[in-house]
Amino acid sequence: MNLPSAILSTGLSILFLVVLFRPLEKLFPAREGQKFLRPAFWTDLFFLLGQYLLWSGVVFWVLNHFRGWLDGMVSSNFRAAVSAQSWWLQAIEMIVLSDFLIYWAHRLQHKVPFLWRFHSIHHSAEHLDWLAAHREHPLDTIYTVGIINLPAFILGFPLETLAGFLAFRGLWAIFIHSNVRLPIGPLRMIIGAPELHHWHHDKARDAGNYANISPLMDILFGTYRCPDHEPEAFGIHEPISKNYLGQLWHPFRRGK
């Protein structure tokens, strides 16, 4: 994809996300009165543009080599045994393993200071909406996406067969950051909901709800939280630059 095509595609993607999420944010606001052009809007927009135009290609390239490196990890016989199972069983195994791994990897991001340096960028957002979801350090993205894809890469599960599910998962991950409080009932125990993830973004660093999408791992390991109101404040306690480049550089600053 050449640059003009990438810019056009990114512009249309932004338009799509606005049309998809903005009506929900207006009609079912978690925080009343939060404007579209809220503080740090431009910083988050730079994160989105950086992700779509530059970093996603880098992440993709790294993962492609990571997958090649992992190819010899498991014997061909084991892979053959996995792929001999029915398709839906493989899919469930892959999703559960992936959720399990990212749950613990995410807890480590909050516990281990080195990993928190990168992950704190995502948590520095003081206003949550569909755009704030994109505030993520590229190295943090490589870590997260690498872990999520690990079971599929090792077991050789063809993700192409789950393309629709993967698309839903990507969009839902944006939705749970949006400024929406939409009562979806028991469905939230399977696919998660904004009110759960908003509590993960509470200013307290260990606020719970570490699961990426489904809160089942949180329920299983005792980190599930769902009060009936929104958190007082989002963000982090430590000082952090307000602009895009400053936030990209933040993990590498001395004295961290």
Partner: protein, 177 residues
């Protein structure tokens, strides 16, 4: 909550979830599109030796066959689980070479204009009293024999045209004041 607010909420929900469903279906049926690569990384030939674990503890007894190292994959075949982003561009554009573009225009220019369908007309039963014909207005028309060719020297003055104008009770083009 007013009825208008309720309606707006329902409409908002319906439109957003329709878009969500449409995107999911679109992503499922369209081939994977790799993300833009402005740094040209995909062109760089970096070879990583595949990690080989020389144990068979998880493979069961008697299984010592390891996967053949395969360090490189085609970038277009890889579909990954993304986090907090949409993995498939909403629209992807394709660069068309000038020769291909010319061929596309040529094909469009050469396309024949076809009147009507090759299949027969659909016969629908209709009550007699609804059947209105030109004869009811005193007009008799010859059966339609096709459009005259642009090269026809008698175009516009064929018998059919003359007869239709002559029998027109409302006056033909010549009857204008």
């Amino acid at each position: 909550m007013s009825a208008l607010t309720k309606f707006a909420r329902l409409a908002g929900l319906a439109s957003s979830f329709t878009l969500l469903a449409a995107y999911v279906v679109y992503s499922h049926v369209t081939p994977n599109v790799p993300p833009p690569d402005p740094l040209g990384l995909s062109a760089k030939d970096v070879t990583l030796d595949a990690m080989v674990v020389p144990i068979n503890s998880i493979t069961g007894p008697g299984d010592s066959q390891l996967t053949a190292p395969q360090a490189k994959h085609s970038s277009s075949e890889l579909r990954i689980i993304t986090s907090k982003s949409i993995s498939q561009p909403i629209f992807s554009t394709r660069k068309v070479s000038s020769a291909e573009a010319e061929g596309m225009f040529q094909a469009r220019a050469n396309r024949r204009i076809m009147f009507g369908s090759k299949s027969g007309a659909v016969e629908l039963p209709m009550p007699e009293f609804l059947k209105v014909t030109f004869a009811d207005f005193g007009i008799s028309l010859e059966p339609f024999l096709g459009f005259p060719s642009p090269n026809d020297p008698f175009r516009g003055t064929s018998d059919t045209t003359v007869k239709a104008v002559a029998n027109d009770p409302f006056g033909g083009p010549d009857s204008k004041p």
